[in-house]
Amino acid sequence: MTEPAPTPGPWTFATVESVRPENAHVATLRLRVPDRRAHLPGQHYIVRLTAEDGYSASRSYSVASPPEDAGVVELTVDRLPAGEVSPYLTEDVVAGDEVEVRGPVGGYFVWRGESPLLLVAGGSGVAPVMAMLRSRRLSHPDVPVRLLFSVRAPEELIFATELGPETTVVYTRRTPPAATRPAGRITADDVAAVAFDDGPAYVCGSTGFVEAAATLLAQQGYDRSRIKLERYGSSGS
């Protein structure tokens, strides 16, 4: 490793600057974190909620904002129907609330400027690779980048206004009217169209998605050392 990953700071109370809906079940919390330690794109934060009687619950959420965004951390949260923490964060929290957080955490699924950069995301698994895409735009504009983004249907797409020609969206269940590719899970052809000859691939989504995508990447010539996986939606709710 070129540099160690930032170690998590102590638990601290962040102030919610805004809560921004991304789609019907995903929202982004913009948090002002006192004494923030700059994260590496791909790292996450832990959020801890505490009830009046002292009961607490904590979960990890990827940082979607780039480290260049001074003093602020944006966590993109997918509301899980039977969740304990995600419904509170997406439905109950309002600007001005304080939320207890600790971070940044995780030193594996991180991008330090390696080039060229391939990003593969399923659903809300786009959050940590969004931090990479945003950081690349701000600090590494010469790094070639491609994002293959799999969503179920047009209304599931998030961050749409920030996605440019580097992004290929694959619709798995239903496409927009003008689409030429039929709806369906990502295929070897989809992966072949975005693969680079060298550089890393960051794959984030459900465990089924990342296994399928990483297997296709391996068949496309990506050896295991070039593929980094982050499995979502399974660490709890």
Partner: protein, 202 residues
Amino acid sequence: MRASRGFTGRRRGGEPGRLPPGQYDVGSGWPVLTAELTPRLDLDSWSITVNGRVEKPMTWTWKEVQQLAPDRFSGDIHCVTTWSKLDTSFAGISVDTLLAEARPTPEATFAVATSSTGYTTNLPLADITGGKAWIVWEHEGRPLPVEHGGPVRMIVPHLYFWKSAKWIETITLLDHDEPGFWEVRGYHDRGDPWREQRYQGD
């Protein structure tokens, strides 16, 4: 303590004190959090080796390991990502059985467990001896699923579960501590859930 406005929580996990601090009961679920692509291992070519600071480095094939004294674990497992799985069970053999044949030398104080994927994790020798660690191939009476480390993994249930190397192939005994895959990336060298040793410095 500062409460989160309006948060009540779900409160599962049985009697008070059953869950380590900061953990929640995942119920019947079992999340998969492997960093690498799931490997497909052929049991005919799989083996487990104990080497390093031992009197007799040993390797057992799948057939040989099944001839060893069977053992099982029943209890709770705890993941650093805050889920715990209560009252679960695994069957295989005790790590003590392997070490009894390989015989650690007096200077052996730590171990590194290595997976077929190259994943490593470090453990004090005292944490894998005395009935605290197992090599297992059954979960709740069925073959261990590949995404959970099958066909054969190590379990060290009293530590956070990243210490329980999936797809185990080698246990190397050392005279010093040597941080593994997650430990060099900020996670704790020991990982005791009851002391919340999640990250370096905790």
